[in-house]
């Protein structure tokens, strides 16, 4: 479930953020509590709270007193904007490194992207 890359609380935050971006957790609906996440992922409850609170600090989740954690309106857009910033580093740079290793020219790469884009999904 958790990998070696980065602290576990950040990985949990990323997992919940994924759920918000892909629509598993809709805006203004409840997400599982930190205790639930801890029990489900068999992780330390303090670590789980830290992960959830990371998203609270980002304005993505908010706490309704006595009810639980909710996804804030606009949360999806906040996360998407953040990910667009990371896109270059996370996807483009490794892609270009690999094309250099394989000897794929920029022109060839462009046409590969065009071809891939035409494939029906």
């Amino acid at each position: 479930m958790f990998t070696n890359e980065g602290p576990i609380f950040q990985q949990l935050a990323a997992m919940i953020a994924d759920g918000i971006v892909n629509g598993t957790y809709l805006e203004e609906t409840a997400v599982p509590s930190a205790t639930d996440f801890a029990a489900f992922h068999r992780m330390n409850p303090a670590t789980a709270s830290k992960g959830v609170n990371t998203l609270v600090d980002l304005g993505v989740l908010y706490k309704k007193r006595g009810v639980g954690m909710f996804v804030a309106s606009g949360a999806r857009e906040i996360l998407r904007a953040q990910r667009r910033d990371e896109f270059r580093k996370k996807y483009l740079q490794p892609l270009l490194r690999e094309t250099a290793v394989l000897g794929i020219t920029t022109g060839k790469l462009h046409s590969m992207i065009d071809d891939e884009g035409q494939d029906p999904r």
Partner: protein
């Protein structure tokens, strides 16, 4: 934050063997702390001293601010089942379940019953005929059902099947959430249990090598691997804990964090750098020569 455990420069010798050498560490109240190290590193000795079943040769160890040795009010707050706990010859499960609550004021009959059922502990067989896994199961029942403010779990997984281990994790977390306490757990199954912990302690040859928050542990060491020349060049003047080589390939586990510069340099030389996982870190310290530096982080009182 107050500390459940405060150990100040304790040493413990058995004859000429130095089991613990100048150990200082503390565990904050409410922490679930992993205690790692090789066989004979000193894990059980630390737990025995905390549980008042042994005394340090020098230094002092306090639990909730008190010396545990022959201190009945402190001892009633501690649960410790040795990994090689002995039982009277004619004891069966029901004898243990009847007598354990006398030593554990917070004993939960429900937790005990759920574990006995889930771990499938046999009721009719004398405990002395139990398998290794069944002995571990009964230790887990006592450890968790005691709900002791300081719960010491020494190798709770020995011989335990995977279903039972998952059940143990579930119940530990569930009961901890409802009734917070301080847990110190020693194990060699690090990968499986590491998400449980908020603190980690690594000891080797009776000394503390790492004592930090779980999240900090991922930044304590990194591994360079690739062609031997490149790895040697990149690890020059660094503190190498563990090396591994075969043919022209080599890897070195090094303390500290890899700078972006080093990662780039590695890439141009055809080597890769990755941060050491917790199991790798424990293995590296277990292989290390004794005189190296101590890593200690995290705010403690």
């Amino acid at each position: 934050m107050t500390n459940a455990v405060d150990i100040r420069s304790i040493s413990r010798s058995f004859g000429r063997t130095r089991a613990l050498e100048d150990i200082t560490l503390s565990v904050p109240d409410g922490s679930i702390c992993g205690l790692f190290g090789r066989n004979g590193a000193g894990k059980t000795t630390i737990m025995s001293i905390l549980a008042g079943q042994d005394r340090p040769t020098s230094g002092n160890a306090k639990v909730f601010g008190e010396h545990p040795f022959e201190n009945s009010s402190t001892l009633s707050k501690i649960s410790f089942v040795r990994d090689n706990q002995r039982y009277p010859d004619d004891y069966r499960l029901h004898h243990v379940l009847r007598i354990a609550p006398r030593f554990a004021p917070n004993w939960s009959v429900d937790v005990a019953a759920e574990l006995v059922d889930g771990l499938r502990i046999p009721a009719k067989i004398p405990i002395k005929k139990f398998s290794r896994g069944q002995l571990s199961s009964i230790a887990i029942v006592m450890g968790l059902a005691s709900r002791a403010p300081l719960t010491l779990l020494d190798e709770p997984y020995l011989g335990l099947d995977i279903t039972a281990r998952a059940l143990f994790h579930d119940l530990l977390l569930r009961d901890y959430s409802a009734h917070p306490r301080t847990v110190i757990l020693s194990t060699h199954l690090i990968e499986e249990s590491e998400a449980l912990f908020d603190r980690v302690i690594i000891i080797d040859r009776g000394r503390v090598r790492v004592d930090c928050e779980r999240d900090e542990a991922s930044n304590l060491a990194f591994t360079i691997s690739g062609p031997a020349d490149a790895v040697d060049k990149l690890s020059t003047n660094r503190r190498v804990l563990l090396t591994h080589a075969a043919g022209g390939l080599r890897s070195a586990t090094i303390t500290g964090e890899a700078s972006d510069e080093l990662v780039l340099q590695a890439r141009t030389l055809g080597a890769t750098i990755s941060s050491a996982s917790l199991p790798e870190l424990v293995a590296a310290y277990g292989a290390d020569a004794p005189e190296s530096t101590l890593i200690k982080k995290g705010a403690r009182a």
